[in-house]
Amino acid sequence: MALSGFRAFGSRAITQTITSAQYRHLHRFLSSAASTTTSGGSGVSVAVKKVTLSNFCSVLDDLRIRIREADFVAIDLEMTGVTSAPWRDSFEFDRSDVRYLKVKDSAEKFAVVQFGLCTFRWDACQGSFIAHPLNFYIFPRKVLSVEGPTDEFLCQTTSISFLAKYQFDFNACIHEGISYLSKTQEEEALQNLCSAYENALLGFSSESEEYVEIPAVRTADVFFTERMKIRFHEWRENVLKYPEDPILEGNDCGHNVDFQMVFFKMHPAIMLNGFTFHQLKLIQLVLRKYFKDLLYLCVSGENCSSQKLVVYTDSEEDRASLMSFIIGPLPSSMEEFALSVNKILPHIIDTKHLISSNNFIQYLMKKKKKSLSSAFSLLCPQLSSTSQNLASTRSFVKVDVQADELGSSSWNSGAKHEAGFDAFMTGCVFAQACSHLGIKFEQDSSIMDLARNDNLKSYINILYPSWNSGTVIDLRTGSESPVSSYKRKYLKIEYANIALIWGFSSKLKPNDIEECLCKVFGTASLISVFFLDRTAALIQFNKMELVNDFLVLKDMLEKDDGPVSVLHPLAKLLEGGNTRAADYDTYRDICSSSASTSKILFADQAEAIGIRWKTKIRPACKETSELDVLKDSVSEHQSNKNDSEKQSQHQFSFEEMLNSL
């Protein structure tokens, strides 16, 4: 759906192609028809067209043209959840790699159920933008014989309730939602089908016995279909004979103008040029009846790096899920992700970043919270309220909503948190922001090249990785840099100074843990204790060495069952005997674990991924020698050596497990 819509960016012309692989099955959103939806939320009335299986194809045809003509496109997504467990929320204590892992986890587990897309085209005569919002319903169903994009997805109960509160139509989504495959999945499925196809070739003769009458009404049609049948047959035979290079070694087919031999996605194909609509219909019939292995396809041109601008709001999550469902599996690092996105969508603007980093806009927004709807009502009052008596000290960008098929009955409500309407709001906010940045739509109406506009330059491809990271990421380089406007709650975070503990007694309150650590290390050495959830916490010390000291001490106390270990102030933390501790990297490792059933509690997740050790002391540190000394001085535990050996084994198996997971 949105996918093809998306890939139709910059599509040049629509060419008719026939491929010899069963590509059609993979073509994500095959069928569709037309229905539309109305909107009338909070005084605004915006017609947002509802796109489902039944009208997908027809919408797609129009959309190709609209996107080509558009000056920019705004998008928005609705998903079945945000985080798969409370501890997977975004925290200030998350290093950028951890933050990415968390977003990645969400994108992989949750499904996109609605994709809003709104094209904006400047109409010089009217002096206004023409907006065309669409609301695609998506469901990752299995289409035909090919496996769907996912056989299981997660729903966060609160997110589903939230969607329900805004009258999300789950029936429309599940009954008629459009399915999709990512580019990678498509290639995979294509390969599977190819091998299936090769197997099927062995028994071809028996297969073709099934003869179906083609309703050919006119004599000319009969001749035409016969001729086509022969030609396709020849071509097919040819392809089979010279699978390596059918074009070069094959015969005349390739030289025909109207029957041009091409490759489509590595598969031999014929481009049909100059046939009438009726003839194309007949060709489809012939293919369906006689050539089970040939497919008739309408394909848009390959996605050239389009000059179109994509305006985008919401969070990194949106983007990551967009990526995982359109392009393929998410890469393992933020940098790769950024570069990969940049390749597919070369110009992205994060309206959230745009409106919060420009001083004038911030002034207009009265420094309020930057939720999309509040930005919309503050920046675009002419659109968001019906009252016409606006004290127009500012100039507002005019936006008209275009609704084809006005007579049609069903339009979406255009309510908040409906992807189509949100996309519309995003685009309006963007247009208004552009005007505040000094972009005069009226003047350079002929060629509006937003992607190269100087005023926008510093905002393009700069995104917020998450709402509380206090950083922005540059998609062109994949690098992250801090933003000045964000006020951090925890001032300075040194990841190397952080230790992770979990599995401690549920009776311990945050204060108890702080108190206990202060007793051991001194008040000055403890910077902060941050709770991931009620089973786990991050402890920030003022020095890096203290992390190791803490781990060593804990390890030592646990191996000693003498009075020292009982009376030691740290003993309180170790109550229950399940307290685990490690350094920051373990936090990252646990965040990267992506068992499909994410545990709600951090401690449970750690156990589920097979962590059996109690304390993980940083290996290959100079402290290791100290560690031995300390150990010997406190207790003459005989099994010390064994233990550490065993421990390293545990760590090894854990690593292994992570790899295999």
């Binding site: 079945t80 959840g81 798969s84 467990a85 409370p86 499904a111 469901f139 990752p140 169903r141 299995k142 496996e147 769907g148 996912t150 056989d151 299981e152 997805f153 997660l154 729903c155 966060q156 109960t157 609160t158 589903i160 309730s161 969607l163 329900a164 139509d169 789950f170 029936n171 989504c173 599940i174 009954h175 068992a595 499909s596 059933t597 994410s598 709600i600 589920a608 097979g610 059996r612 065993k646 084994q649 545990h650 198996s653 292994e656 497990m657 295999s660 997971l661």
Partner: protein, 610 residues
Amino acid sequence: MAAVAIGKGRFAGVPVKQVTKSNFAAAIQQIKADIEAAEFVAISTRKTGDFSSSSLRHPWRRVLPIDTSETAYLKSKLAAETFELFQFAVCPFSIRGSKVVAIPYNFHLFPRDELTLGMPSYSFACQTSFLASMAREGFDFNACIYDGLSYLSRVEETKARERKSGSWMLTVTSSQNPSVADSIFKERIKSRVTHWRKACKDTSQAKDGSLVQSLRKLVLGGEFYGSRPGMSVDICSEKQAQLVFEIVEQISDDLVPILIPDNGVQPKAVRVVLTSSEEDKMVLLTELQSFEDEQNLKFRGFRQVIDLISSSHKTIVSHNCLHDFTFIHEKFLGPLPETVAEFMCSLRLLFSNVVDLNHLLKEFGPLRKAKNIPSALSYLKRHYFVPIELEVPEQAEDGNKSHGNNVLKLVFLFAKLNMLLKNAPSSRSALEQAKPIEDYANIFNPASLTLHEPGDDDETGWQIDSTRRVSTDKILFLWGFGGATSAVELKHCLLQIHPVFVEDFDVRFVDKTCAVIVFETLGSAETLLKDMHSVDTVSGVLRDMVVEGLRAAGYEAYKKVCRLGLWEGDLADSLEIALAETVEDLCSLSKTDTNENRWKNEMMIDLNDL
């Protein structure tokens, strides 16, 4: 009351009462009476997934014929922890001769977080194919998500009550041996409340100016509870609350004490409300009761129905019990225990008598191969004359759709089987001696039930043959065999590698990476395993294959995979992990050893299902 009679098993048009949030309060009274009057209660559920569908990505997660009750339980447990219930059909029914009277209810569920405590579920998984097939049947997802009933399990309710105490009542137990402090507290409260009551009753003051009135309010600590006068008594312990309740009862009948819950654990105050008459008091009490009911509804929600069924002690009929009851345990009782034995014990506390239709089918020889209810029904229809008439009283309400009428099929089949088993001697087939239906209770058959497909009643596979059961010692898991893609191919390949394959053996693929081999004789698996481990002494094809990565493991490894919950990835990978963990897991193994021996006899596997 009008009734719909179903003679020939046409269920499509039968109205089933649909219950959502809006009509739950009324429905619960009705179903309570219906359950009381009924002989049996049938249940059937719709979930968001259960691993039984043909998932290409994790085919071995579903319950397979090679599973013992233990591994099957662990798989069901995983499903119950992963997925949610969307519909719960309950059908109280009675059998009167050849007539069955059934009253089906279909409850729509959604695990909404009514109390914003992150319960009953933070998130849940959906199987795409499951939802799609529900959609094909016309399932109304909006009704379910917008208006579905929520619930808390018993364990969750206890937790929630700790964090949000809700009750206004306190059962007064006369305090024995009150301490001096208690007596002083009592006297003080008594005089305060009496004084306040007198002041309120004194109507002469009604003419006073507003200033005087507000001053009085300030002095007496009086306030209003709704339209009635009331006063708050601060307390600092449960004990003091008890004392206040006691005193208020002694002072006068027109006073009603109400516990004001704090958001913490301890109650903070007792509010004493003055009612104007006996009737007024009744009105207040009803109000409070309905508030309490509302709270209960918020806490228990749909679970009230489960509690009703549980307390009725009626025989429960369900198809595929292991699956359904792991869900019921997880959602309405509490987290599932580690072993199947503990599970059965725990479940027995909730439901004393459960008949698994799946088990009943297995017991009833000719129906052994019936994969689902429709196929069993159509078999019975073709081969037996069982005149059962199903009568469904029409409930005078609109919007009774046929959602959830699967439960009626279940009732219908159960009634037929019940009759057949009762009249066994006269029946023409080789049925076993008649046993009362109760003898079949509480035995669950873990079956791999496939999704209901329309037109699934195929004729094939009805042959009756003797049960072939295999001990788990004869089973071997094999992986790393390279290119073999079919069982035939692999079998052919195996014939050449080791002498144990001279005898007859069976090969099946569990998923694309791993195959299971079933030997005829005991010890073959062990021999092969031993030879594969000592590869230095073995030569020939086996050696080559082992060098190239052929691996094998016995049933223990598979059990361990299930026990450790290594469900991610292909079975071969999970088995590797399980094997690698052996060293450190020694202690826990020895602990469970005794356990293993005990149920070794039960670990028989029905090979006809392979």
